[in-house]
Symmetry: none
Subunit: 136 residues, 4 copies
Amino acid sequence: MNLRSPLMLQIATGDPRPIHRQIVDGVRRLIASGELTLGANLPSVRGLALQLGINPNTVAKAYSELTAEGWLDARAGLGLFVAAPRQRLSDEERARRLDEALTRFVGDVIALDYPAGVVLERVAGELALCLPKKTG
Amino acid sequence: MNLRSPLMLQIATGDPRPIHRQIVDGVRRLIASGELTLGANLPSVRGLALQLGINPNTVAKAYSELTAEGWLDARAGLGLFVAAPRQRLSDEERARRLDEALTRFVGDVIALDYPAGVVLERVAGELALCLPKKTG
Amino acid sequence: MNLRSPLMLQIATGDPRPIHRQIVDGVRRLIASGELTLGANLPSVRGLALQLGINPNTVAKAYSELTAEGWLDARAGLGLFVAAPRQRLSDEERARRLDEALTRFVGDVIALDYPAGVVLERVAGELALCLPKKTG
Amino acid sequence: MNLRSPLMLQIATGDPRPIHRQIVDGVRRLIASGELTLGANLPSVRGLALQLGINPNTVAKAYSELTAEGWLDARAGLGLFVAAPRQRLSDEERARRLDEALTRFVGDVIALDYPAGVVLERVAGELALCLPKKTG
DNA sequence: GTGGTCTAGACCACG
DNA sequence: GTGGTCTAGACCACT
C-alpha cells in the first residue's frame, strides 16, 4: 500500500451528519475494514481538505478526534499514522455506545416497517464489508 | 393496561440524542412492539413533562412530530391517541431511510470493535422485542 | 436571482392559519412554482424572523417541518437549502391527503355561496401559478 | 321531506377538525346542496348528539354558530329551521375567505405532486355535489 | 382539564 | 455567523 494515496472517502452533502463526523466515521471504517493498516500514512490536513473540497479546519478537527480516540498517531513533522490497535475504550463505555447505537438504529428502522429478516440481512451485509478481518 | 398510565420511557442524559428525539423513538417503539395499541390514550403533554422532569414544550414537540408522521392523532381538549396504521412513505423513501440508518449504525458500531456476530445478535434481539407480530 | 434575497412571503394576521403554517405553505409553494430551485439558499432563521417581524423560534419551527418533510436540507453553520425532489409519500397516503384537503376546501367554500364556475377558475388560476412545469 | 329526520352527517374521529366544526361544515354543505331546504326542521340538540354519539354541548355550539352566521333560525320551543337565504357576509369578507381557503388548499395540494388537471377534476366533482342547484 | 401557538432568552455544535 | 435544543411563561380554542 503506497503512502499518501488519496483516501477512499466521499463527503455527501445530503448526509445529515456534520462533515467532520463523516470523515471520522469513514476513517474508522477504513481502518476497521483493513484498507488502512497499521502504520499507514494518512493524507495531510491540507491535502485531504483539497481532495474533499472542504475547509482544512474541518479535516483537522476530524483528525484530532481520531487521534484522541486512539485510532491515529500524530508524529510532529512527519504526519499522521494508523495507530497500533489497543483497547481504546473501556468495556463499560463500549457497551454503553453499542446500546445507544442499537436504540437509535432500531428506533429509526421500526418506523419503516421492514420485516426483521430483511433488516438483519442488510446489517449482516454491511458488517461483512467492514469487520471480516477481525472475526475470521 | 389502564389508560393514561405512565409511559415506559426514560430520558438518558448521556444519550447524544436530543430529548424530544428520545421520546419520538421511544413512543414509535412502544407502538411497533404492541405495548401501545390502536386508540390508546397517551399521557398528556403536561403529564409526561412532569413524569420525565422536562419542559412541556419539549414533550409537545415530540408529540407534534409523532402526529405529523401519522403515529398519533391529537384532539384538543381530549388528548393524544395511537392512530390507525397506514403506509405513509413510498418504497423508495423507505429504502433510502433504511440505507441511511444502516450507514450511521455501522459507522457507529465499527469504532467499538465488536465481533460482527455479537452485533448481529444484539440487533436481532432488539428487533424481536419490537416486532413480535412480524416475526412470531 | 441572488441567494439570500428576501423570500416573497407575507404573514397575514387575519389568516386563521398559525404563522409557522403560513411559512410552510408559502415555501412549499415557492418551491413547487420554481421560484426556489434545487440548492437555493434560504434566508437564515434569524433573518426571516427579522423580515417578518416574528420570533426566530417560529421560523425555526416552520423550517424544521419543511426539513422533516424533505423539502429542505439544513446544515448547521451553513444554512438551509432546497433539497432534491423525491417521492416521499406512498400513493395511498397522497390520495388520502388529497381527499382531506378537498373536503376541507369544499366545506369552507360552500359557505361563501360562490358559483362553482368562479371557484373552479380561481383554483385553476392558483394551480397554474404554482405548477407551471406540470401544465405548460 | 319529512321533518326531524336524522341528518346525513358523520363524525370522523381521524378528522383533525374539531367536532363542532365538522357539524357546521356538514350542515352548511347540506343546505348548499339543497338536501336541507328553506324551513326544514333540524334535529334537536339532544337528538343529534344522541345520533352522533357526542356531547349535546358540542351540538349546541355548532347550532349556535350556524345561527349566528344566518344559516339557521332558532324559534324558542319549536326548534331550529333552515333560514331564508340572505347576504350573510359582506362581499369583502367573502372574497377574503375564498382567498384564504384557496391558499390553504393549494398549499396542501402542491405537496402531493398531482397534475393540475387531476386536482381540478376532483374539485369540480366535489363542487358539483354541493352547488349545482345554485348555478344551474 | 386538553393540545397548540407564540414569545423571550439561553446554550450548544458547526463552519 | 449558522441551525438546533431547551426552558419559562403566556394565551388561545376545544371538551
